[in-house]
């Protein structure tokens, strides 16, 4: 089982639309897609309209490519749900939110080790943000 983390804390996954891989997307009518951390967001540009949830994998918390992928998807105009999934630690929650993720999906073991309070500690991610100041 997994836990979905948002600004209001832990919740169960409410997504019922399933996930396709990038390759299987053209053949199927998927509303959700799984992106690996080495994906090229440009490949999704023509399909963004039809997607409701994009889930970006974090194979390791030290692999920061997902942050750039999220930023690029938002710059392309993607308005749907954007989820970081995998090894994301609570200390990265503010970064994830700032680059455009709506939520983080972690497994139960990580949720037990880093309980809800540690994530809520960073729910103030809109504060103290140099990027917001510099971009206006």
């Amino acid at each position: 089982m997994t836990v979905i983390v948002t600004d209001s804390g832990f919740a169960a996954d409410d997504w019922n639309g399933g996930f396709c891989t990038l390759d299987s997307l053209p053949a199927n009518d998927c509303a959700g897609v799984d992106l690996p951390s080495d994906a090229e967001p440009e490949d999704l540009r023509a399909r963004l309209e039809g997607l409701s949830l994009i889930r970006v994998d974090f194979p390791s918390f030290a692999d920061g490519r997902g942050f750039s992928i999220a930023a690029e998807l938002r710059r392309m105009g993607y308005k749907g749900r954007l989820r970081a999934k995998g090894h994301v630690i609570s200390d990265q929650y503010a970064m994830a939110r700032r680059v455009g993720f709506d939520e983080v999906e972690i497994d139960d073991a990580l949720a037990a080790r880093q309980p809800e309070a540690e994530w809520l500690f960073r729910a103030n991610w809109t504060e103290h943000d140099y990027q917001a100041r510099l971009r206006g």
């Binding site: 030290a62 920061g64 750039s68 680059v99 080790r113 880093q114 103290h128 510099l134 971009r135 206006g136």
Partner: protein
């Protein structure tokens, strides 16, 4: 100088509170050691050979007297009474305790300082020309640009888990004192048709694969700086190799893909990112710039200095080497050597820090700089105050007249402190300095940069030393390779390896043979070591270094 606004102060306080909690969560087990590591690193905390090491940021090497005093206080309260100034214009404390670190960070915040992003796979402390704002040859003071980049890179959400570290340097002069061609991105402020802009150089770096940076943009309009740099780091974050840490720096990405391919990618990304900057950054830049106005210069005669030069040969010698022309004719830039013969390059005691703080407050418009060459600078001194400064420096063992000379050596901490080192660096620097002091040849030799690294990671910049020394481990024995002809300036070059390495005992005599050869073959006294090397090449030096292998050297 830059003064924190409410936002900066609140940011650092919040960040320190987060780190305090992270230390507690590490102790409780909520964070694994693997997870804690990048978090402590992005807050400047390393685990070294014997202890933790805290690296405190001195953004673009600029600080005031109160900040220097606080660094002295921290050295005395939390460490062993000294600190080590580094080649990124930072200061390192070698013996802090983990439990004290959150308190140290709070004490730093009291004087508007921090240890953010001095380590880890992040954008590191932005460095700049240490003569910024004082140099006569400057197009524009690089510090406002460096400060803008500091704010942009601090806690940048996309760039806290990069493939590897990322270093930026800025210079406002064509004469490069900031080694911008050995940085991931080097920025030179340039003027074209009356407009000020930036030349952007990418993919330079030292380490085990030294590269000279390549030009990414010949002239970038000022307003495009942040989106352009962001596009560059974004391209590398996605493209840079994560399978091998020795191939992860942007220099390798540029090398593997080619500069034209990288430029095309950056420009595409730049077009996408530019609209996300609405121009507020330009307003902020204008505000930042106001913090860096010129000091209120004093108008007074400079006779005291000229008279003292005639009266005191030691003073004359010191002022020959340690003083640089200021853009104001009555002023001088004073370099304080942290390279007393036989001392550890870059170390200063708490007492010495306080002396330098007081000199800055009394005579130097309350400004100090740390140079990447590990010395301290008083950038704005009226020449009539030079004799008093010299006298105070002498009292504090800080008046060594060797700036730019053979004993003004950059050395990494080496095996005396560093977990990565394969050989000692500091004792080598000490021996070379003492030997040439003993020979009384230093001033005769003139301008010469020796740089020493205790391992292949090249923290001592040996690749760009006129004479570079690299300490390696050969089956448990220290072995030192020599390179010649390296140069970190605007004519940047990677030094050429002279041949087989030398044992610790044979190294200083080998350096002596190089110097004897130089003195022998230079065309005149004014021809520097580097000029001579460029004229005559490796041949005569090789012959002197390896006299017995003339035949087999071919």
């Amino acid at each position: 100088m830059y003064q924190y606004n409410d936002f900066d102060a609140a940011f650092v306080a919040e960040r320190n509170a987060q780190f305090r909690a992270q230390v507690e969560r590490r102790i409780s087990g909520a964070l694994t050691e693997d997870e804690f590591k990048p978090l402590r690193l992005m807050n400047g905390l390393y685990l070294q050979l014997h202890a933790y090491m805290l690296r405190v940021a001195i953004p673009y090497g600029t600080l005031n007297g109160a900040q220097m005093r606080q660094l002295a206080m921290i050295a005395e309260t939390f460490d062993k009474g000294y600190g080590h100034f580094t080649t990124r214009q930072n200061i390192q404390y070698n013996w802090p305790k983990l439990k004290d670190v959150p308190d140290i960070l709070d004490r730093l915040a009291e004087v508007e300082m921090h240890a953010l992003q001095t380590s880890g796979n992040t954008i590191r402390n932005v460095t700049a020309d240490h003569f910024a704002g004082a140099a006569a040859d400057e197009v524009e003071d690089p510090r406002p640009t460096a400060e803008l980049l500091r704010q942009w890179s601090t806690d940048h959400p996309e760039f806290q888990f990069l493939p590897r570290k990322f270093k930026l340097a800025v210079t406002g002069s064509a004469a490069d004192r900031a080694v911008i061609r050995a940085h991931d991105i080097g920025i030179q402020i340039v003027e074209k048709d009356g407009e000020i802009g930036y030349k952007i150089i990418v993919g330079g770096g030292l380490g085990r694969t030294p590269m000279i940076g390549k030009t990414l943009a010949e002239f970038l309009p000022k307003a495009d700086l942040l989106p352009f740099v962001e596009a560059t780091v974004n391209v590398w974050n996605r493209l840079g190799r994560r399978d091998n840490k020795y191939k992860s720096r942007i220099k390798i990405t540029v090398h593997e893909h080619g500069i034209d391919d990288i430029r095309a990618r950056v420009l595409t990304r730049f077009e996408q990112i530019k609209p996300t900057f609405k121009g507020v950054d330009r307003d902020l830049f204008a505000q930042i710039q106001q913090n860096f106005g010129a000091p209120v210069y004093r108008n007074a005669p400079v006779d005291a200095h000229t008279a003292m030069r005639l009266a005191n040969p030691a003073y004359a010698s010191w002022s020959d080497t340690n003083i640089t022309a200021h853009k104001n004719d009555s002023y001088a830039i004073v370099s304080i050597s942290l390279k007393k013969h036989g001392a550890t390059p870059g170390d200063a005691s708490a007492d010495q820090m306080r002396v330098m703080a007081e000199l800055a407050e009394t005579y130097g418009h309350d400004e100090l700089r740390i140079s990447h060459e590990q010395n301290v600078i008083l950038p704005h001194v009226h020449q009539s105050d030079l004799p008093a400064i010299y006298a105070a420096l002498r009292e504090a063992n800080l008046a060594t007249a060797n700036i730019g000379l053979i004993s003004d050596i950059i050395a990494c901490p080496g095996m005396d402190y560093c977990a990565l080192a394969t050989a000692r660096s500091i004792p080598v620097a000490q021996e070379i300095a003492e030997r040439f002091d003993e020979l009384k040849l230093e001033h005769e030799i003139g301008a010469l940069k020796i740089k020493i690294s205790g391992c292949i990671n090249a923290c001592g910049h040996h690749h760009v030393g006129h004479i570079g020394i690299l300490g390696l481990d050969r089956a448990g024995v220290e072995n030192y390779q020599i390179t010649l002809g390296g140069d970190g300036s605007e004519d940047a070059a990677i030094g050429e390896r002279a041949g087989p390495g030398f044992s610790a005992e044979a190294l200083v005599p080998a350096i002596e043979r190089i110097i004897e050869t130089y003195l022998d073959v230079r065309s005149e006294k004014a021809e520097t070591f580097l000029q001579t090397y460029r004229r005559v090449g490796m041949g005569p030096f090789k012959a002197a270094l390896y006299p017995d292998s003339k035949a087999s050297a071919a």
